[in-house]
Amino acid sequence: MKKIYLVILFILALGIVSLGFITNQQSEKHPDVDWSLGCQECHSERTPEVYNDWYTSRHGMVNFGCYICHGDGQETFYAKGSDAQCGGCHAGQLVSFDSSKFKSCFDCHNGHTLKFHND
């Protein structure tokens, strides 16, 4: 009897874990917040380090904001930026990753400071 319970428990556990895994992969949702605010209004206080990383970067200096990589938060949201977005404005800097162990802009460029190799 005990063994069956253990087996059922195991299967259930597996199910819950994989559900979490699937949910994690499929849902990138920004917490529901006061959407009358802009990103900077919250994040300058909520995530000051990341905000400062961005603020002092080449993007921050010209106020090219969070939304470029992360979406507007409400209608579109990406936890991480993607090469596709970089390529939109930086079409002149598209490189080949063919003969390189690096496969993405972000392998070398920090997403917020934009610095090369996190220098």
Binding site: W35, S36, L37, G38, C39, M61, V62, N63, F64, G65, C66, Y67, I68, G71, D72, G73, Q74, E75, T76, S82, D83, A84, G87, G88, C89, H90, A91, G92, Q93, L94, V95, S96, F97, D98, K103, S104
Partner: protein, 763 residues
Amino acid sequence: MSLSRRDFLRASALTAAATTLGVGTVFNSKMFAATGIDKDQFMQDSQGVMWHKSVCRLCGVGCGVMLGVKDGKPFGIRGDKDNTVNAGLLCVKGFYLNKMITAKNRLMYPMIRKNGKLTRATWDEALDFVAKKFTEIKEKYGPDALAFYGSGQAETEETYVANKLFKGHIGTNNVEGNPRLCMASAVGGYISTFGADEPVGTYDDIEKCDMFLLVGSNTAEAHPVVYDRIVARKKQNPNVKVVIIDPRKTPTNKIADLHLQVIPGYDLAIMNAMAKLIIDNGYADEQFIKDSVNFSDGTNPITYEDYKKFLEKFTPEYAAKQCGVKAEDIVKAAKLFGETPRVMTMWCMGVNQRVAGVFLNNLIHNLHLLTGKIGKDGCDSFSLTGQPNACGGVREGGGLSHLLPGHRVVANEKHRKEIAEIWNVPAENIKPAPGKHTVAMFEALGTGDIKGIFILCTSPAQSLPNLNKYLKGMEDAFMVVAESFHPTETSQIADVVLPAAFWGEKEGVYGCTERRSQHMAKALQPAGESRWDAFILVDIAKRMGYGKNFEHFTTAEAIWNEYLKTTKGTDMDLTGATYARLKKVRGLRWPVPSEDHPGTGHRFTEGDPYFPKDKAAGKRMYFYTKSDGKAVIFARPDKGPEEQTSPEYPIALTTGRILEQWHTMSMTGQVPELVRAAPRPYVEINPEDAKALGISTRDKVRMVTKRGSLIVEAKVIDRPRKGTIFVPWHWPESLTNILTIDAVDPGSKEPEYKVAACRLEKA
């Protein structure tokens, strides 16, 4: 395995070649497949994506943009790396162009106001109605009871057709465009100083320049890609200097070496003071002045000595007192200007949107003429144009009430004859007297002098100054609005609204700041029932009985080819800019008189195809658009703003733009990401002023001028000068222009959006 760069470039080249054959050419998707497309979403989705060469829909920089289309729908945007203007770089607004195409507020069908409500109609119903009403008005009240109000965002072909219809056939010169509200003073400055419109140099001068003087321009936010080139130039050579004259600290200040933070409206004194210092300290290029410069007081010619006498009052101390800056900073600015070998001055709305706009433009040109820093590498008085096609369509296409295509004027009999011949109408059709300029035009809607108006690609019910004065006139008149988005402040009060095809859905040419005309591909079918603006106008022309001279306009190229005839032999010759050529290259800078001519860098000097070597007789420059080849230095008084501050209205109100939004938000306001950047209207208040009034950020404040009052959120920030506030004008829910003044420059008729007197209080 990623798509290799070489393969991607090859594919891009293939696409570029493909697009010259027109929309619908089969794209060789095998190219991508062969390289083993990887997991990267961008590259992966690129299978079957056709990238079309175009130009950004937004500001006057003229960045090259590739519009990606897949399965007949907009797929994405990327910068055109082969375009010399931006080399593949885009700003945040251009980045979202594809989202604007598919915005939820795209207008999909025509509408007619019936029983007070806009209701859906068919094209035939709408256009028959427009043609009938316009014809009725014309027959009962005369052609001048009709008007056309167009845009610096309309394609050149669209403005050309409108001009031909209204000036050449209906017979009214009431043809205006919103560049009257932004660039007219620059036009006035160029024409009075040089005899012809638009800059002498190009963007090429940026990379050779050693000093940038930025006057009334927040380049970082309003012309970001030009700003990026200045930043790159300064990074390449840290000795490059940037001097700013502006009432406000802006993001542009990040690279400033010197900022003269002036009281708004009083900066003419600084220009004259700089001229005086330049001459007194021996920085004037006496030979250049002798060869290429005349002097004038605005009415009569004067001598160089007269001019020096005129400048005597403009000591640095006098100018400093006028505009509230330090005299030593004016001296510094003049010294830098005089000593630095290669200088570019750039300016925008802070200079143009003033009752002394033309004067200030002249004074800027004066500095470059005094020092000879013009018409050579790295040197120019280079006006930044706001809209993407103010130059191409309106200034060059003649879409203002006193102009005709090809830099001609209605007042000139020879010009009327030349255009009438190309338009195939009797010369008498074109009236010699200029029509009503924009403010007068909308005033006339109110008085009933104008009873019918066609508005194309612009929203005067948000953009006119002293807005409340003009709204009733627009409501009372028979107003037809051709627009891609609905509702806008203007479309929602129209009698007829016609859905216009948007960027990417129509072929045509845009001419940007540096005289570069560039072709935009038609990459998509117009959304819903929308139609190309030019074809809408052609259809109306036909229904009004003028079809004979419009029926050959069956393609964009046919219209462009007729337009080219108007430019042949003029200082803005575009004969060599055929569609075949424009589709291949990244634009051409006029004059480009033949198909094998590469286009022109510096005008009025060696390299300009019209530079008359014989007449120049050894002089470096010959301004052949002036009868004696000499440009004019004008002794202009330091005229102040129309509305000075007073005890009742003690704060100077200035208005402007932010990076993320374009004009009335009909396009950029549909992009959630751009809205997120600045979700609510606000006013920038200097911390000292805020403290005195007990105002904190996010408090509601009331701004009151003689014309209206508005409540917005405060943003306390060290940007506007003490005693000045700055209000962006983008939000339809917070119409800034009910506060602004509609006083205009007497020469250019451009309103003074940049200075008004205001009272600020906690709401």
